[in-house]
């Protein structure tokens, strides 16, 4: 029962002379109990994204800044309610040079922005915990709260006997109760001085459900698996979101008869020059894309929003989406347009070997200008691929499969393949995208057409 006091945490200089930082997100809410060094926020400086550990153990009393706001170094960003005993886990009171109590202004140890470090000591003024009964003023409820109350199961709607005192709990627990449709006045609190904890609410909710629905037996912890979002998954997610919501995607489909291309592939495989090389539909399709790009360079470009320019590349760094044990990566083959079919085949093998071994370097992953994704290996025909961020086009290769097809005006069994092309409509129009896709299709259905293109 030690008296509580409010401690402010001022934004420090996080990186050798920075004057401000942006609050990206809060990891705690008002009312949360935090431990010393528990991560409370994610902050981005001009140099890095860093996590802020709590300098105190206590309860979050107030968050002074919203996510997204840029804060000057030295400004308070969060206040904690801490026990007098817990306020200085390091024995701050024993500071040399006098009684450095909570009332004493303490200089922020930052390189810049020595803001006024006025700490307000003592107990915060609080109002007595007496409230109107919840049933008394339903019309004044916050719309969202009212909606939540309406959505709550009917069983808990009837207001019970009220005591005029709101049950002791914390905002996150109140929110949990609202979400679960639990009336806090009916929940016995097991925490300190009758505080209703998260567990109390969950236990109460579980209890009231058990009565209604006969127990579906499933051991706890098997209904869902929670995995922290990090590493490749996090990166992929960010890239996908960025791409999907900045570039307006258009996807076009074309199904072509690739029998001739498959026959060519067989002939090449028996050709001595290609001995030891791996030739697949992807090899030919990659070459077809590179040839078609020469005629349709718009697809090999980038929207540079910062410079307000369209950058058309005179080279092709061909990205190949690869599923690796760790997730999706899109390494690219540098200057693929200068490569012969043989070189391209070797480069594709090396790229996928490296990706599967998890040895792809950041350099391999950057600087791509257009990408291919080979969904055909999974037996899939078509899809709407999402652009690799910064690129104007991505083409998905479907599975090569035998299908009934009109060939020479007769129905025949032919090998067909679907091509799905997504492009950034900001810089590629339907005409250019269509011409490009038609060219790729023409090469794959009749490889001799290349003679008319190069």
């Amino acid at each position: 029962m030690s008296p509580a006091m409010i401690k402010e945490f001022r934004l420090p200089d996080l990186g050798e002379g920075l004057t401000e930082s942006e609050i990206l997100s809060w990891r705690v809410s008002v009312g949360d109990t935090v431990e010393l060094n528990q991560v409370i926020a994610e902050v981005e400086t001009a140099k890095a994204v860093v996590e802020l550990p709590s300098p105190f153990a206590g309860t979050v009393a107030a968050l002074h800044e919203q996510p997204g706001s840029v804060v000057e170094v030295g400004k308070p960003i969060v206040s904690f309610e801490v026990d007098d005993a817990g306020a200085a886990p390091s024995g701050e009171g024993a500071a040399p040079g006098g009684a450095a109590g909570a009332d004493e202004p303490k200089r922020e140890a930052t390189l810049v922005g020595y803001g006024a470090a006025v700490e307000k000591g003592g107990r915060p003024a609080r109002k007595a915990r007496t409230f109107a009964t919840p049933a008394a003023a339903p019309q004044e409820a916050h719309p969202a709260e009212a909606a939540a109350a309406q959505a709550a199961p009917a069983a808990v709607v009837p207001a019970p006997e009220t005591t005029g005192e709101r049950p002791r709990s914390t905002p996150p627990v109140r929110k949990l109760a609202r979400d679960l449709g639990v009336d806090l006045t009916r929940v016995p609190g097991t925490g300190e001085r009758g505080l209703i904890t998260r567990e109390d609410v969950q236990r109460f909710a579980a209890g009231s459900t058990e009565g209604a629905a006969p127990a579906a037996v499933r051991p706890a912890g098997e209904r869902e698996i929670r995995t922290p979002i990090k590493g490749v998954r996090k990166y992929t997610a960010a890239a996908m979101v960025q791409s999907a919501f900045t570039a307006p995607h258009v996807t076009e489909f074309l199904t072509v008869d690739v029998t001739a291309a498959m026959e060519l592939l067989e002939r090449l495989k028996s050709n001595r020059a290609f001995a030891g090389y791996k030739l697949t539909p992807l090899t030919l399709a990659a070459k077809a894309v590179l040839i078609a790009l020469k005629r349709n360079p718009t697809l090999n470009s980038r929207w540079d929003d910062a410079a307000q320019e369209i950058v058309q590349f005179n080279y092709v760094n061909l990205g190949i989406a690869a599923a690796t044990p760790r997730g999706l990566t899109v390494p690219n083959i540098k200057d693929a347009d200068t490569m012969s079919l043989l070189e391209l085949s070797a480069a594709l093998s090396e790229l996928t070997d490296t990706a599967r071994a998890g040895k792809t370097t950041p350099e391999d992953l950057s600087g791509g200008t257009i990408s291919i994704t080979n969904i055909g290996v999974f037996g899939i025909d078509a899809g709407t691929p999402i652009l690799n961020p910064g690129e104007a086009a991505i083409i998905a290769l479907g599975a090569v499969r035998k299908a009934p097809w009109v060939h020479n005006d007769e129905l025949a069994v032919r090998q067909v393949m679907s091509l799905s092309l997504s492009f950034d409509h900001r810089l590629v129009d339907g005409e250019q995208g269509s011409r490009f896709l038609a060219d790729v299709g023409a090469i794959l259905s009749d490889p001799g057409m290349v003679l008319t293109m190069v």
Partner: protein, 387 residues
């Protein structure tokens, strides 16, 4: 999404790169402890750790855990505005504790700014490690008390100091050894080259410990050198050992080999401890901007502490009592660091003159006088005027 280019049933063509790029030519990596905590026997190096008792294994474990805790606490203190900067050593505990525990008290260590683990082994108190990072002093400790120079910010220059000190030992006819620490990036610096040349020329009793943590801020080691770093020593005529830097036993053995050679007049040794900087270069750096997350995962699987812990488990040494003892020690040191940092007395303004010249002189006296009068001008009105 996937390509099926890398067939399962056939060999991919040999990439032309591997023929023309002799990037990997170095000797075998000395490893006595596998990442899973298996003790690997080695014909030459086993001898050098044959005296390491169970008790010492536990104590090495304790030191590494404590060092990691110091690192975590100091990082938190920086994020809380109590330190201006901190260079984390996460992942390099074995390379530092394994070597730091091998020295004699009369050996002299010249560290970089990142050798907090070595400093801990030399007996430096945790708050002294952060004194300079808080801006409260030019340096944290008395070098002659611990026979360890203070943190060096210049890249590689301490290698010269180490060689110079070693030449001094030679002149004294003593059998102590000088030790110079540096990183992979420093091997590209002229100072390190000069230090190696002089050490070889004079066969000075110096051990160079290069912690190859793979990144010189944002430059990968593969860009720094097309041969393994240990191979660079051969060009100077210095014998080298390439050791698994996340294996505390291998680092201990290699350091003992090198110290023994130096004490017996055998001259310098270059140790490349292959390790990984799992955190940022400093707290002002964001490694996710230049480093592949996969790499970090690979190295997390080779964690130096987890591996020794696994060995202790295999040997049945890791009981609750040990864990409690180690945790208590780490908690104690962390609390000492936090309290010592927050309550660190601020330096007096006039202290700035203290360590400029060995002796007082009139020119300095005049500057002191001017500065004192300047400070005097703030008294009185300044209290209200300046916040």
């Amino acid at each position: 999404m996937l390509t099926d280019e890398a067939g399962r049933d056939r060999k991919a063509p040999e990439p032309a790169k591997s023929v023309t790029n002799p990037r990997r030519t170095g000797g075998d990596l000395v490893q006595l402890l596998s990442p899973s905590g298996e003790r690997i026997s080695h014909p030459e190096f086993d001898l050098w750790i044959s005296d390491v008792s169970d008790e010492q294994l536990c104590s090495l474990y304790e030191d590494m855990v404590v060092v990691r805790r110091i690192d975590t606490e100091a990082t938190a203190l920086q994020r809380q505005g109590e330190l201006a900067l901190w260079p984390p050593l996460l992942g390099q505990e074995a390379a530092q504790v394994g070597s730091g525990r091998a020295f004699r008290s009369d050996d002299f260590v010249f560290p970089t700014y990142r050798e907090s683990g070595v400093a801990y082994c030399r007996g430096v108190a945790a708050p002294d490690m952060v004194k300079a990072w808080r801006g409260n002093a030019l340096f944290g400790w008395d070098p002659y008390r611990y026979n360890m120079a203070t943190q060096q910010i210049m890249i590689g220059s301490q290698a010269l100091h180490a060689t110079g000190y070693a030449m001094g030992i030679q002149h004294d006819g003593a059998d102590s050894v000088s030790v110079g620490y540096f990183g992979d990036g420093a091997t590209s610096e002229g100072d390190v080259s000069e230090a190696l040349v002089f050490a070889a020329s004079f066969q000075a009793p110096v051990v160079f410990i290069c912690q190859n943590n793979h990144w010189a801020i944002s430059e990968p080691v593969t860009l720094q050198s097309h041969v393994q770093l240990a191979d660079r020593a051969a060009g100077f005529g210095i014998p080298a050992i390439r050791v698994d830097g996340n294996d505390v036993l291998a680092v201990l053995a290699a350091t003992r080999v090198a110290l023994d050679r130096a004490r017996k007049g055998g001259g310098p040794t270059f140790i490349e401890a292959v390790t990984y900087r799992m955190g940022p270069h400093t707290t002002a750096d964001d490694p996710t901007r230049y480093r592949d997350a996969n790499e970090l995962e690979d190295w997390a699987a080779k964690d130096p502490i987890a591996r020794l812990k696994a060995l202790l488990e295999r040997k049945g040494l890791l009981d609750e009592q040990l864990e409690t003892r180690v945790k208590a020690k780490a908690d104690e040191v962390a609390a000492e660091l936090r309290s010592g940092t927050i309550n660190m007395p601020e330096p007096a303004a006039m202290d700035v003159f203290k360590h400029v010249y060995a002796e007082e002189n009139s020119w300095l006296e005049r500057q002191k006088d001017h500065y004192a009068r300047y400070l005097e001008s703030f008294s009185g009105s300044a209290q209200e005027g300046a916040l």
